[in-house]
Assembly symmetry: C2
Homo-oligomer: 151 residues x 2
């Protein structure tokens, strides 16, 4: 019941961009350094975020990535959905189901349980934006605003 690194790194990367919102593109190399992540790997994640319209890119020297929207309207759910797929503890109660909802459909109580679990996950993830996280960050350590991590 764990997120993969994609979701976790994705949130971290987006938070870096959020802190620099309005200051022009941030090169991926810098994001990778700040978060101590592999640049090449991060590139793949950010590429997905770009295709999903959450970040914009500027190519060429002096280029980089920036948030495509205000941090206040990008939710953590948006990010997780792009990188981990639709939210839900089991395939058959996932949001926006594709072809594979199971047959038992209505007569199955487990589904009810999983739906409730899914809804509570969705509720949390969709209610927390990047701006929210930045605000909490200020409360946590008002001193350094960099967000650099030691670990």
């Amino acid at each position: 019941m764990r997120l993969s690194t994609k979701g976790r790194y994705g949130i971290r990367a987006m938070l870096v961009l959020a802190r620099r919102y309005g200051e022009g593109p941030v090169p991926l190399k810098e994001v990778a350094e700040i978060e101590s992540l592999s640049e090449a790997y991060l590139e793949q994640l950010v590429s997905e975020l770009r295709k999903a319209g959450l970040v914009r890119s500027v190519r060429g020297a002096q280029g980089g990535y920036l948030l495509a929207k205000d941090p206040a309207i990008i939710t953590t759910g948006d990010i997780i959905r792009v990188l981990e797929g639709p939210i839900g503890p089991v395939q058959c109660v996932v949001e926006f189901p594709g072809t594979d909802t199971c047959d038992c459909a209505e007569s199955c109580v487990e589904r009810l349980l999983w739906k409730r679990l899914r809804d509570s996950m969705v509720q949390v993830l969709d209610s927390i934006t990047l701006a929210d996280l930045m605000a909490e960050e200020k409360k946590l350590n008002p001193s350094s605003g960099t967000g650099d991590r030691s670990c």
Copy 2:
């Protein structure tokens, strides 16, 4: 962000035992048939549930498994914890952390997000018991009480 089959099958198996609570041991073969699962695989899961004290076993002919407690006091969280490990979307905010909480500990906003997600998952799973599921089941399909599944 998905459960593995262990958690899913585990809930299904426990639900079978819950429906037969008070009627003596149910052989695993029967559970496997009702739920269309591999008996050998199921054996591993049930074995963990037994070691955790959620089911009891009766060896020898006419033996099988039974719930170790009333369905009303076994929560879905209990079952999931045994089969999937402590609940939490990332290792570092898992319940009952072992050695590996991360260093960033307090200064890290992501942790805050993951904690909230974890708490909402725990809340749902710990509030729903096997008895609750059986009650819902009655409401869903009052006709057949077997719980046999076609899929």
